[in-house]
């Protein structure tokens, strides 16, 4: 038993190093004075560059945030209502709708990206933030649906019946019973959608037009021009933000799931 544990421990450490060493290199070189990956001296120069002379990057960041908020909101509303309908009610084509809803989750990103691109070209919709919003909402819906159906599975339908039984109508039941019960799922779904939207590159790449860059798109174009210490600095900020949010959500989870 002990030997087995040793082997798996070695693998685990290897995986951790594999994950973190490349990120660590980025962190260190973000403080490099020179422009290359050759260490020449300590400096905050690239952070200064990032915060004061990277207007396009911050525009792209702003777009990312706007798209993430709007598409998460839209997909959470659509996904939540859909999950309630699919999980708690019986109606025609229910099985079909559920199966189709999960498909975008399974198909490769690039296919969703180009199919939307061809579709937008076909209906004559110019590529812009609007098309990015539509694309992000589309790929976020199945995730929200998935999370909410998982949440609904924890409750039996008799809670809803009890609400009708005690005199409540559909609207009261939705607002006073169903939504409060699945609130943790709704929050989790929204956060998941935000994360996916902020991170997406491939689908956005195909449905974005001139002037509608997002942060990942901007990073992509920077990477294509080769190593840039500004990306190093940005990476450090993003890694720190991610770690902070991860820790926060870990503590939040306790709070969310308690209510």
């Amino acid at each position: 038993m002990k030997e087995k544990k040793k082997i798996s421990f070695v693998f685990f450490i290897f995986t951790l190093l594999f994950f973190y060493l490349p990120l660590l290199v980025l962190v260190i070189y973000s403080f490099n004075e020179g422009k290359t990956m050759k260490w020449t001296g300590f400096s905050f120069h690239w952070y200064e560059e990032l915060f004061t002379r990277s207007k396009e990057l911050w525009n792209a960041f702003e777009n990312s945030i706007i798209i993430a908020l709007l598409s998460s909101l839209a997909s959470t509303v659509i996904g939540t209502l859909g999950a309630i309908g699919i999980y708690w009610y019986r109606f025609r084509h229910k099985k079909l709708i559920q199966t189709v809803s999960y498909l975008p989750l399974m198909l490769p990103d690039i296919i969703i990206g180009i199919s939307l691109l061809i579709f937008f070209a076909g209906i004559g919709l110019n590529l812009s933030l609007t098309t990015i919003f539509i694309a992000h909402t589309t790929f976020n819906i199945p995730y929200v649906l998935f999370i909410l159906i998982a949440r609904l599975q924890e409750f039996d339908y008799s809670v809803i019946e009890a609400s009708y039984d005690l005199g409540a109508k559909e609207k009261d039941t939705l607002l006073k019973i169903i939504l409060p019960i699945i609130k943790p799922g709704i929050i989790a779904g929204f956060l998941m959608a935000m994360t996916l939207s902020l991170d997406d590159f491939v689908i956005t790449f195909f449905v974005s037009g001139p002037g509608s860059s997002t942060l990942p798109l901007h990073i992509f174009s920077m990477i294509r021009f080769g190593v840039s210490p500004v990306i190093n600095a940005l990476a450090v900020i993003l890694i720190a933000a991610t770690a902070f949010l991860a820790l926060l959500s870990k503590n939040m989870q306790k709070y969310i799931y308690q209510s």
Binding site: Y29, K94, L116
Partner: protein, 279 residues
Amino acid sequence: MKKNYGTIYSLPLSVWLAFFFIGPTLIIFLYSFLKKSPFGGVERSFSLDAFAFLFNPTVLQIAWMTLYISIAVAVITLFLALPTAYFMAKSRYKDSLLLFIIIPFWVNFLIRIYAWIAILGNNGFINNFLIQTGLVSDNFQFLYNPYAVVLITVYTYLPYAILPLYSTIEKFDFGLLEASKDLGATHFQGLKKIFIPGIKSGIYTAFLFTFIPALGSYAVPQLVGGTSSMMLGNVIAREIIITRNFPLASAISLILSLLTIIGILVFMKKNENEKKAVK
């Protein structure tokens, strides 16, 4: 009386998906059977040109490369993920270890690719280091080959494999392993005959979660693959953006979708058999 509300609740979902998922998917299907217009769009006449072009040796070679890279990625990922997940699931500090694995997973996808470019690139960290220490005199090209694509794809997808494996191993009843030892099995026999079959569904899921996205890779081969390791995703993008051959891009997408769906169906079938076997 309940029936109507189900339809009402799922109406926004149905409408949205009909417009922005089913519609576009059908268009791809349709376009793959149409003729390419010289101006970049399609002409409304039936044609199998796009499918015929799929048998072009270059396309076949790229399809082979795609499959080869995807399988290599899935196998290597599994090899790393299984013991890692095992260690995590058996640890006393599960929750914290899980967080350690999830954090890099949340770091932006492109930043994760970029980190490797910064390290392995022609002017990257390792080359600089090697030149400074005098080990080599000229830059060594680590990137722009299939191995680099495999390495970096493994890096980006590894958490996808660790998480499902972790959750199956955590649910595994380790009493069974002890029972098998009690009945005279060696530790290795126990692992092979009891543990691995017991977590099969996790292994399938992990494989699928890396193999399927790898099949549809675009960004990694685009950034670190070079011409020698183009994948189908890159061909689709090229046909859409540069050549503007919509029917060909659609046909390749169709094939890729079919491969994905077949993969998922095989997985579901396997998983179902597993469940039956357990019963």
